[in-house]
Symmetry: C2
Subunit: 356 residues, 2 copies
């Protein structure tokens, strides 16, 4: 695949120029670009700049509000609900996590849920915001369109409904788990398609539940397998986790469960996607510093675990993202030619400068 | 396998008689038996009465305190830490979840962690306590002995580190997810051994990472696979979830990470296992009743999902446990002959009446 490295600042400037041309207000542009670039820098290529073609499509179809009014509609010292005004999810998402962080610093724990939102980028970006403030951070999100089939089902019921969890250490970078509750995310199918590779058995099925390995078919049929796969190997767990994420992200704030929305109102203008954010202060549980020191010991112990293959040491969740971030901050973000052209095209169509 | 049904009251009376003979104080007996029976009634056969032989071994080896002092060692309006006094985990577990529930009812959310504890039965019992009070409930626990191999590792680092999540509906029974973060729990290997069945590929590996299907070997080598299996099918996710559970259950309350404890002090008298509990009030986020009504709609929609095999409809997480509970309350709890004998033997050795 023909790719070339683009400095984060230039990519950010391009994304910002497009959003500005779309009429997004200035402070919202800064937050949206920051969260999108977080994914691109972390190597989560499917959730940053590569989302712009879909956002452009949402805009063309009138599915997102570009200058939404974002409001806190309910609040207590420990909790809040934010209405995203049917815009993209990055701005209400960041605001929600900042609010959860502020509450956790005041009273030990804060939980904020968002409704009337849309795609919010990589869940890990929000969990990391808490970890960088010395807190445990959790974020989950629902998705606009179902793609994951519940165990024993034939049709998709949930989005890839990711869970992110981050926790601060002292010497080490934070622990960071950022995972779809399917075996693979839709973005992975797209990357296989771009690369002309087959997808592994266990990622996607057809309407009869048979494995699909052709990426075009997999993307067309949109039937991903819940983490675990078969019942015997724990497919009910991935399904259960997906539903847990849907309950926290949709049912709790009063956002819409996509499966029901599409059944009741197939032409609904807005997806009404929901998210969930939680921050928790370890210092509410232990004297300050002890948690971080012991998480360091756990991380060190895992790195020292005997590997099955001496060439492939055991990693700690977050290692790939942290390493990639350092590399890409230095060397730039590798942008495939196809994406570069797509971003330039979107810029031109939006009467923004094409910078890539 | 030769099994016979035993009424829950009789099984409870037997468990209680043994614990009484061991010197457990009366109120602690009631709570321990209640939580153990919850697992037996829910069909989680590995986590109720079947644990007694291991508890008896812990007692013989002086590894558990039978009349522990259980203390709240740190508390705020939203959080608390409980010291379990190195007894079994059921009593501090129930106390912690009751405390989290009380906090959630007062201020919207409560998080309580427990240290200096041991095996606490089925995680789902605690999550369900919250759901029965109209709250979202979460519980996680660490385990006394590592058995799950991190992705790319050769040796076990984590216990089966379960996650339970429950949420209340109105017409339907609560949503209940109660899952080990490995593809299968140790108890499943034991059941395969009892039944003389091979274990499926993907449950256990040997020290070189090769699949093991003989249950005796699997139990001896104690190397379970993290949910997901290979990297390609999401094994890093099961590993990440196991570590998330360890952070919440061990690092947060200051309990010991079993891998480090065993390396530093192989002869340690007490395992110092930790647990985590969280309760959250949906009414802090939405007008009372809306959450439950929409969860009903989600549950109904999933039950109505087209199944891949018409003979095998899509279930909702918690269905098997709720159905089994109704069945076993009516017909008794099926106790395998081997377990019946073991419980009678433990009773006699403890100078308690053998009732089974």
């Amino acid at each position: 695949m023909d790719t070339r490295p683009v400095p984060a600042e230039r990519l950010g400037a391009q994304l910002g120029a497009i959003l500005r041309a779309w009429g997004m207000p200035e402070p919202q542009i800064a937050d949206t670009v920051e969260i999108m670039l977080w994914a691109d820098l972390a190597g989560i290529d499917s959730h940053g700049a590569a989302m712009m073609p879909l956002y452009a499509q949402f805009r063309d179809e009138g599915k997102i509000v570009l200058a939404p009014e974002i409001r806190i509609v309910r609040e207590s010292p420990t909790t809040a609900v934010i209405d995203g005004g049917f815009g993209l999810g990055h701005v209400p998402g960041k605001r929600a996590m900042l609010l959860a962080i502020a509450k956790a610093k005041m009273v030990g724990i804060g939980a904020v849920a968002v409704r009337a939102s849309n795609h919010y980028g990589a869940a890990g970006a929000y969990a990391m915001m808490a970890a960088e403030e010395g807190l445990i951070g959790i974020s989950t999100t629902a998705v606009h369109t179902p793609s994951v089939v519940p165990l024993w089902g034939a049709d998709p019921a949930f989005g890839t409904n990711p869970i992110a969890f981050a926790a601060p250490a002292r010497r080490n970078k934070p622990f960071l788990l950022d995972m779809a509750t399917s075996t693979a995310a839709i973005g992975k199918l797209k990357l296989a398609q771009l690369a002309g590779r087959k997808v592994p058995e266990g990622w996607a099925v057809d309407a009869a539940g048979r494995p699909v390995t052709d990426p075009e078919t997999a993307l067309r049929d949109r039937r991903l397998v819940a983490l675990g796969g078969t019942r015997e190997l724990g497919g009910h767990k991935g399904y259960g986790l997906a539903m847990m994420v849907e309950i926290l992200s949709s049912t709790l704030p009063g956002a819409q469960f996509a499966l029901l929305r599409m059944a009741r109102d197939p032409g609904a203008k807005h997806a009404d996607v929901g998210h969930f954010f939680l921050a928790m202060d370890p210092a509410a549980f232990r004297p300050a510093g002890e948690f971080e020191a012991e998480l360091d010991e756990m991380i060190d112990a895992l790195r020292a675990t005997r590997p099955a293959d001496p060439e492939r040491p055991v990693l700690v969740p977050g290692d790939p993202e942290h390493q990639e971030r350092a590399r890409r901050l230095a060397d730039g973000i590798p942008i495939p030619e196809k994406l570069r052209q797509a971003l330039n095209d979107i810029a031109r169509r939006s009467s923004a400068e094409a910078m890539l």
